[in-house]
Subunit: 393 residues, 2 copies
């Protein structure tokens, strides 16, 4: 089922698109630090992003990977490109108050002729490009005029290739299996951390033909009173009869993600929750139908808003965001949001997590799908009953 | 078994220690962004660190939590301190190229009287303090002289309280249970992602009396030829007879971590691996005996080096690092390293992950323990056979 590893030709085409945008932005170089962007361009994939590492992309000539020596020695095991000549900074530079790995990297880039005057982009919102890395490059290569990249590589990632869509379908199958495991595991008296155990096992195991990679975010259980608060992680609290939880999880395959959320009521739901669920699912369905080429996220949000308004409801936060490759702590691409003022023109093979999360006071309801933008409206990659799921208590 | 939540009095004592160091460094304020540091000072704990958030600590007066509005509304569910008046930035500021949440936070801090001239620390190596956050604060509050904090809060975390040691003992029990699950699960033909599934389930489930929290790093399996490369995540490759793997995992409880590594051979090990294992375990034992108050990491490393030298071996990378609270992507504290030139005086209740990882060409061996520095040498928090573990194939 898996389409095999990404081809070198596809990686080269990605690099060409990045360089096209670099020319448009008048950049002579780009410092890529987001591990999702490094993977996208090189294939390099390891849990090494907790120490400084970059891919330096000059406008011409070979990009340069730079990372800790311990990791550099094994970079060839995953990197399809640029692994022949990785810069590995010495172990002694790890966690020093008065020296920094990126100062060493700056010297090495200078030796290789990259310290020439020009506008060089950096990723100002990337999670793993620390301020000290930025300052070390600024001080080490004063010839560079460092400018914020405005998520340049992330925007190149927006429209997926057929190979990428194949990975995301597999990720969707993993997500659907994990959600089935979650729903099956819910029973009275079961602690939330045991539900997490079942979900995480299902996420790593995957399903027949689709093995699971690690998701960028742990499964979330918004339970009981806490169902009004997103992003809380699990506790050992026991699932009680006549209570409800929202479950947020993802399936991952080769770092591609398909998130999926559902709410489950153990026993008959309250009238408030039941009513909220009905309105939210109807709104989501209306939104999904609008996710087709030529529309905008604003159009999609308008369809959602119109349904919710009929029920006297409104959602302040965005209805979704672009997805693809993910590393902790996020599976979003930080580009297109499904919200009222986003006027990006949708194109076929953009992929989104459409998440209708309604967090009321003391209760909440969530239903989401991972989708591909397609001519007939959303091509849904995930598979779970699109409703409030009620289990006998 | 759990000692309950941290007390407000303990949080206040932590704040006082941070302020003592701020006075020593002549800081009038400190911008704390590392989620481990925010948790340490406030108790706030959610998977919200993928969007900008800080705890601003003035030298006097109440610290201020600032985060996305969606998360701010539920901050009181975990924060023991500073949750009464959280600054929640509006949803519209998420992922904008020309506006930034930290610009809004800067305005709010100004309105509250915090934009006064002074030296204000920032965490230059924190993973979740992006360059754009730094630049927005610099531009929004030009009165501040922003200086690198040199891991100020992390250093305060170095010596653990009795409450913290109790959490780490529970984390150690979770780790030991997860390692037993890993060893039990290894068999010929089993894919590595299925081993990961067993480990992750055991990590979340925990053991009797110690429920599992999510570890900051996913389990690692350095398998076959790849056993010479740390930090690779799992694949669906099947465990073969007469092969070996190194397993790196942690147990976590209330965000406190106890990492643990072992190597397992399925079938008789090669002579090279067997010899390497013997030398490494002997070296680790020598190092553990030196982990007592008054010694330094340099003393510990010398004991290790002396054993390895007798076998003609040497380890270039460090032998361990301080541990405690962890969030993805790392469970280390980024302060004391067990290496030749670290002369920090060890004190009782410092806690370390001592990891004797030897990555040779084409094979490797790892054995580690999480320990507390104690008068008689290391008080070991983890429990697994300290040797190369050989299973019948």
């Amino acid at each position: 089922m898996s389409a095999g590893a990404v081809s070198p030709a596809e990686l080269d085409a990605r690099l060409e698109r990045v360089r096209g945008r670099m020319r448009d932005a008048e950049l002579t170089g780009l410092v890529v630090a987001d591990p999702a962007n490094i993977y996208y361009l090189s294939g390099y994939n390891a849990w090494s992003f907790y120490t400084p590492q970059i891919l330096f992309v000059p406008l011409e000539g070979a990009p340069v990977l730079a990372m800790r020596e311990m990791d550099a020695l094994g970079a060839h095991r995953t990197a399809v490109r640029y692994a022949e000549d990785v810069l590995g900074y010495p172990e002694r530079l790890v966690h020093r108050p008065d020296d920094h790995p990126m100062a060493w990297v700056a010297e090495q880039l200078r030796e290789r002729g990259h310290a020439t005057p020009g506008r060089v982009g950096f990723e100002g919102d990337a999670h793993f490009f620390a301020v000290r890395s930025f300052l070390a490059l600024r001080d080490g290569i004063p010839e560079w005029d460092l400018v914020e990249s405005r998520e340049l590589v992330n925007w190149v990632r927006l429209v997926k290739s057929d190979w990428e869509i194949a990975q995301m379908r597999l990720a969707g199958r993993v997500a659907s299996g994990a959600m089935r495991a979650a729903i099956d595991a819910i029973e009275e008296g079961r602690p939330l951390n045991e539900l997490a155990a079942e979900v995480m096992a299902a996420q790593a195991r995957g399903v027949e033909g689709a093995d699971g990679d690690y998701p960028a975010i742990v499964p979330m259980f918004l339970y009981g009173d806490g169902a009004d608060t997103p992003h809380l992680t699990w506790t050992a609290e026991k699932f009680a009869a006549n209570s409800a939880a929202s479950i947020e999880l993802a399936g991952a395959h080769r770092r591609y993600h398909a998130p999926l959320a559902r709410s489950v009521s153990l026993g008959a739901p309250s009238r408030d929750l039941d009513r909220l669920a009905g309105a939210t699912v109807e709104g989501l369905n209306a939104a999904l139908a609008e996710l087709r080429p030529g529309n905008t996220p604003a159009d999609v949000t308008a369809a959602w808003d119109a349904v919710l308004a009929r029920y006297g409801l409104e959602k302040k936060s965005r209805l979704g965001y672009s997805i693809g490759i993910g590393y902790p702590p996020d599976w979003g691409e930080r580009t297109v949001s499904i919200r009222r003022d986003d006027t990006t023109e949708l194109q076929e093979n953009m992929t989104f997590h459409v998440i209708a999360g309604m967090w009321m006071t003391g209760y909440g309801f969530e239903v989401s799908e991972s989708i591909r933008v397609a001519p007939g409206g959303a091509d849904v990659l995930t598979d779970a009953p699109r409703k409030l799921i009620v289990k006998e208590s």
